[in-house]
Amino acid sequence: MSFHPKMTYGAAFHKSARDLDPDRDQGPPFEYTAENRARFDRIVQRYPDAQRRSAVLPALYLVQYQQGHITASAMRYVAGLLGITPADVEDVVSFYSMFYTKPVGRFVLQVCRTLSCALNGAERVTEELSAKLGIKPGETDPSGTFTLIEVECLGACDRAPVVMVNDAWHECLTPGDAAKLVDDLKARGEAALSGCHHVVEKK
């Protein structure tokens, strides 16, 4: 009941609310698949009972793997699971660069632009990818297959320039290699993704 018997709450959105702005991309109602729910239940046990909030990053990764990006519905769902407010979840989502709040392509090409990669031609790699896909960094191609972004040091500067595609690493790329990678991804899909050099070289 509200403080006035004739009136009800919830008709207006006030900026003091610990909820998300209704103008945000809501997306369809969200729920984990049974597998993801089981994964979440396992992960949350790693933290003390009173600290479920610690599982917010893993919980958001599960959302992103399930539906590609993180919608307002998903933030509310995660907030409910963890016993925090949707605004707490939004606070986290908006801070970390690996979470997407808008749809991205099936392959997100992340070119490292920091010093050691730049000294070894990363700018040329970005240019080549940009020309090949007809998009600028930050954009997704019209088919929704590729998103191109520039990222900061990935921690593999000895293998410069490095491009991370989704979670897979491609290293020591020349502009020519980068163009070929795009063709490979078009032709073979996820099978064209490699791992880090240690995995690739089997050593």
Binding site: R46, F95, Y96, S97, C153, G155, C157, R159, H198, K203
Partner: protein, 434 residues
């Protein structure tokens, strides 16, 4: 050199990451030794070894463990810093992927020493392939009784969990790491209190770098005296050096800290590429001052590099040849710091953006001479005025390039463009790998 690597000896062998391989090479013997000692004896041993933190600050690890408030009624924690985001640094990457059990063993010994039952390994989100290797290794360790309840029948319980970050350099700062682990933005806390007293969930916590913890089993196996004698006084033990930039053989190289920067760059990494000369070296990740070719005989130790006017930091050695434009370099790094500033402190949040924009203007040839003083004064109003060391780190590329290469800034302004050969950024990497 007669030195035999201790951390990376086997990393090129096919199964180096498996438990069976590790056990064939004295794996978990350090943990066995530790469990036969009292926890305080383990701390005393690590203190006596002189081990200094490998994450950047070089603080003595034994002392950090001693500061952990053992009398607190709350649980204690180890938070292993595997965020490895300092530009030019990629050693923890190699260790975790190729020698994960060494880190797991270090975590278990650390927990035992400080009275913790849980170690969280906070790994940067981009290291997903590394995380998978690490998690498989942890599962193996549980299955064989090196982790879990009653480790090796000693009555000591120990859990190790991997916690994945999601893209934030600042999450590597120790208190920001704890915030992130608690499910919040990676923003630093005011210190004191230090994590050893009020850390994760308000409980006593030791935050240790991956390479630091990986040294602990070695100390147990080899003894404190042997360990401290490997290397110069107060700079003992093996050290991993990450060499990248304009060298022939970039990579991770292990050596005692008696080695010089020149030996690492010219002998181990093959020197700068053919036809080029060395212009400058950033010896400890992007946050430290530049050293010049005349300083190559500097000992690559915490104290040696500091004496030369810089810092060993994370031992990320970035080598720059004569084609490198120093204004462009500062702009490139300030792009990084502007992007990574967590936004909590105003001088850093606003100031890194100002610095980046001024540098960009100068680099594009639209700068004025007065911009150089402006850069210096903005930088000096950020340094020392922020909660964590990020502010100092962010202004260093600006101040150090202005100090040593002011003429390049002036040339950009006078000529209205970069005066280095036009192809300097078009060259491709021509590196070979060890």
């Amino acid at each position: 050199m007669s030195f035999e690597p201790l951390l990376t000896k086997h990393v090129r062998e096919p199964n180096s990451f498996t438990l069976d391989f590790y056990l064939q090479h004295e794996g978990y013997d350090g943990l066995r030794k530790a469990l036969a000692m009292k926890p305080e004896e383990v701390i005393d041993l690590v203190k006596a070894s002189g081990l200094r933190g490998r994450g950047g600050a070089g603080f003595p690890t034994g002392m950090k463990w001693q500061f952990v408030d053992k009398k607190s009624p709350n649980p204690k924690y180890i938070a292993c810093n595997a965020d490895e985001s300092e530009p030019g640094t990629f050693k923890d990457h190699l260790l975790m992927e190729r020698n994960p059990h060494l880190l797991i063993e270090g975590c278990a010994i650390g927990c035992y020493a400080i009275g913790a039952k849980i170690a969280y390994i906070y790994i940067r989100g981009e290291f997903f392939h590394v995380q998978q290797v690490l998690e498989r290794a942890i599962d193996e360790a549980y299955a064989r009784g090196f982790l879990g309840k009653n480790v090796l029948g000693s009555g000591f319980d120990c859990d190790v969990y991997v916690h994945r970050g999601a893209g934030a350099y600042e999450a590597g700062e120790e208190t920001a790491l704890l915030e992130s682990l608690e499910g919040k933005r990676a923003q630093p806390r005011n210190k004191p209190p230090f994590p050893a007293v009020v850390g994760l969930y308000g409980c006593p916590t030791a935050v240790n770098n991956v390479e630091t913890l990986a040294n602990v089993p070695i100390i147990l196996m080899k003894g404190a005296e042997w360990y401290s004698k490997l290397g110069p006084e107060k700079n003992g033990g093996p050290k991993l050096f990450c060499i990248s930039g304009h060298v022939k053989r970039p990579g991770v190289y292990e050596a005692p800290m008696t080695v010089t920067l020149g030996e690492l760059i010219n002998e181990r990494a093959g020197g700068v590429r053919d036809g080029r000369t060395l212009k400058a070296v950033i010896p400890g990740g992007s946050s430290v001052p530049i050293l010049l070719p005349t300083q190559l005989d500097t000992q690559a130790s915490f104290d040696g590099v500091q004496k030369a006017g810089s810092l060993l930091g994370s031992a990320g050695i970035i080598v720059l040849d004569d084609t490198t434009c120093m204004v462009w370099l500062a702009e490139n790094l300030l792009h990084f710091y502007r992007h990574e500033s967590c936004g909590k402190c105003t001088p850093c949040r606003e100031g890194t953006d100002w610095l980046y924009k001024i540098l960009r203007k100068i680099e594009r040839g639209a700068g004025q001479m007065s911009d150089l003083d402006l850069l210096t004064s903005v930088a000096n109003n950020i340094a020392g005025k922020t909660l964590c060391a990020f502010g100092d780190a962010a202004v260093t590329p600006v101040l150090t390039t202005l100090k040593h290469f002011r003429h390049e800034y002036e040339a950009h302004i006078k000529e209205g463009h970069c005066t280095l050969p036009a192809d300097w950024r078009a060259r491709q990497g021509v590196a070979t790998h060890p």
